[in-house]
């Protein structure tokens, strides 16, 4: 009696080469690579939009663009960064790492995996195409409602909203396909001996992410479809004049939108412990506590959405409930912070680029978390709502907590994925420029918000000029420093740099490090047994 790997599908046997390899591939590593490359491209596109916004805000007064175009850039920047950069990056890591980490030969449904990816490029085109159509006099540009699509503004706006609705549908379908695949893979294809409580934390983080996506994507899909029918088919779901309720849209949107924050963060919380443990040369502290905290945060994230709409008006008991429930998320999150720090405590730490990003991430994401507590307070939120304080808060959460986490993961697993070591010198330069420029960009925005500068405005009062100038300079340094990141990745993909060992990090633990760097086309032709 021996143990064998689960079937490799017949279509894996002779994989095509060239462009057809990428169009038709069902290999989890190829699809993971496509997700990650797509995410990187869209990160640069979304980043360029942010730089255009910051260029406009460099000085008070209208400098470079019309207010309508400014609004479009803000909205599409957010949609791209959330749906086309962060989420695909997380799915890319899931595709690459989950089969390797649980000892499976591939994802459970490889064709579904391919379809899930190829929905993304059309969605990205739909999001950005209205900009180009407007140049030819078709429509009035992209969606200008911000990423939240709030009705009734979104009911009245131009064709950019329709494009965005269809883009969101495609992105949602892609996310659901990815989630279904991850759920089925993790539950059904674990190597013998890999019990649920032996799953790597990254797999746990993604499993809960997948549950959250399954729970919330239908709500978003329903909301934007109702918006579409309000716009074109005479319904009045969100039109008060027709008996509808515009506030209902806000509740629908944030029922999806708040868990979405954790959808973006849970995969990062999953892989940061791997990095901290590897470079502290200690086992992860509090594995079970972290798993239970993931669960607690996942569940709580589904019942706290209305803190995003405190100022729209709610009964006092509802305000109190949403305030306390939101604040309660800080408890399991504090457990996670404790575990991350305890993992490093008295470890033999070294600070290679992934560890620099991981430790920097803890501090910066911590600031994002603490300022979130401020916004969870109903009374404080009444003052800070819709101000730059909120913009600064969610960038500490999603750029530092999301993007910088993804960067840590990229540097950690890049040698495994490409078989080449990146330039450590450039990696460290990238970290320091990113960390300093990030704070230069977003720390002043806290002060701007506290001083009363509203978000989503292209012009502002003179009193806000200095902090805006500092923020814009920081943004350009931040944006340009990402070119170092791109260079480092491209160098590895092109085979430059030293050859990476199978286990390039001394303290790294996990099944993926037992494979060659890069891993063979089919992972685990010899199935591992976890003891």
């Amino acid at each position: 009696m021996t143990t064998a790997a689960q079937a490799h599908e017949a279509h894996h046997d002779h994989h095509p080469t060239g462009i057809m390899r990428w169009l038709t591939t069902t290999n989890h590593k190829d699809i993971g690579t496509m997700y990650l490359v797509f995410a990187l491209i869209m990160f640069m596109v979304g980043g360029a939009m942010a730089l255009a916004v910051r260029a406009e805000l460099f000085q008070p007064g209208m400098q470079l663009m019309r207010p309508e175009f400014f609004n479009q850039l803000i909205g599409v920047h957010a949609l791209i960064m959330i749906f086309a950069a962060l989420m695909p990056a997380a799915t890319g890591f899931a595709n690459w790492l989950i089969p390797l980490q649980i000892g499976a030969p591939d994802m459970a449904l490889p064709r579904l995996n391919n379809w899930g990816f190829w929905l993304l490029p059309p969605a990205a085109i739909l999001l950005t195409l209205p900009f180009i159509l407007a140049l030819f006099g078709i429509g009035d540009g992209a969606i200008a409602t911000g990423w939240t699509f709030y009705a009734p503004l979104s009911v009245q706006e131009g064709i950019g909203v329709d494009f965005a609705i269809f883009a969101v549908h495609l992105l949602g379908i892609s996310s659901v396909m990815g989630s279904i695949n991850i759920i089925v893979t993790i539950f059904n294809m674990r190597a013998p001996g890999m019990t649920m409580m032996k799953l790597p934390l990254f797999a746990w983080g993604w499993l809960i992410t997948a549950f959250l996506l399954i729970a919330t994507i239908p709500v978003l899909a329903g909301a934007v479809t109702m918006l579409l029918t309000d716009r074109h088919f005479g319904t009045h779901f969100f039109n008060a004049a027709g008996g509808g309720d515009p506030i209902l849209f806000q509740h629908l949107f944030w029922f999806f939108g708040h868990p979405e924050v954790y959808i973006l963060l849970l995969p990062v919380w999953g892989f940061i412990p791997h990095i901290l443990s590897a470079f502290s040369r200690k086992p992860t502290y509090g594995y079970k506590a972290q798993v239970y905290s993931f669960w607690a945060i996942g569940i709580l994230s589904l019942v706290v959405w209305a803190h995003h709409v405190f100022t729209v008006g709610m009964p006092v008991p509802a305000l109190l409930y949403f305030m306390y429930s939101t604040m309660s998320i800080s408890l399991p999150l504090a457990v996670l912070f404790f575990c991350w720090i305890a993992t490093m405590w008295r470890g033999a730490m070294s600070f290679e680029t992934p560890m620099l990003f991981a430790t920097g991430w803890i501090i910066l994401f911590g600031i994002g978390g603490l300022t979130g507590l401020v916004l969870a307070d109903v009374a404080a939120d009444a003052q800070y709502h819709h101000s730059y304080f909120v913009v600064a808060h969610f960038h500490y959460t999603l750029f530092a907590g999301g993007m910088m986490g993804m960067m840590a993961g990229t540097y950690f697993w890049l040698p495994k994925m490409t078989g080449r070591m990146y330039s450590e010198k450039l990696g460290k330069l990238h970290f320091w420029l990113t960390a300093i420029a990030f704070n230069l960009t977003f720390m002043p925005q806290f002060f701007l918000g506290l001083a009363g500068m509203p978000r989503r405005i292209p012009d502002y009062a003179l009193q806000f000029a200095e902090f805006n100038m500092i923020s814009s300079i920081g943004a350009f340094i931040l944006g340009l420093s990402q070119l170092i990141f791109v260079y480092n990745i491209v160098s590895c993909i092109r085979g430059q740099g030293e050859k990476a060992a199978d286990k390039p990090w001394e303290g790294a633990e996990g099944l993926e490090w037992t494979l060659s760097s890069p891993p063979p086309y089919h992972s685990f032709t010899v199935q591992p047994v976890v003891k």
Binding site: A5, N188, M194, G222, A223, M226, T229, F237, D245
Partner: protein
């Protein structure tokens, strides 16, 4: 999983390989229900609040999840087997509902083991112009071991070990 047995009764040798599944069928149903419950509650709540279009999307999504579990479940009964009895070597494969069976003359069957790019070995059984691949549920090591085992048990002495493309 691979189960192998030597001579029993009229059968000289048999081997059966199946895909590895971590969940039993009842566990799959339990997981599906656990996942499906919350979206259904949410969709019902929003429907009562007037946003009934959430419900069809939740339904479609859960249908897709159910189909995914069903497809994986149907594949869990797939298998490949080789049975050597008397002069016959029978290869049986089940993929979904399709069961195919090929019977070769034991003494006129060749074992073909080829090394593919990437180091993986593939195994074929070939006789009188027909060939059948075997070992899709086996790992590389097990395929090589099976090739040696079959070499000892079947008649044709020409065993082909080579690189693909030769």
């Amino acid at each position: 999983m691979v189960s192998e047995s030597g001579a029993t009764g009229k059968i000289d040798y048999s081997i059966t390989a199946r895909p590895n599944c971590s969940l039993t069928p009842s566990q799959k149903i339990g997981v599906f229900i656990a996942i499906a419950l919350f979206p259904l509650v949410v969709a019902t709540g929003f429907t009562l609040a007037g946003a009934w279009l959430v419900f069809p999307f939740a339904g479609l999504e859960l249908l897709a999840l159910g189909v995914a579990f069903y497809v994986v479940h149907r594949h869990s009964t797939d298998y490949e087997s080789i049975t050597i009895a008397g002069n016959d070597l029978a290869i049986e494969r089940r993929f979904y509902n399709n069961i195919s069976r090929v019977v070769f003359n034991r003494y006129w069957t060749y074992v073909v083991l080829k090394k593919m790019p990437g180091g993986e070995h593939k195994l074929w059984l070939r006789s009188r112009g027909k060939q059948v691949e075997f070992g899709r549920y086996m790992d590389n090591e097990a395929r090589q071991a099976l090739a040696s085992q079959l070499k000892r048990r079947i008649g044709a002495t020409h065993h082909h070990y080579g690189e693909i493309g030769e």
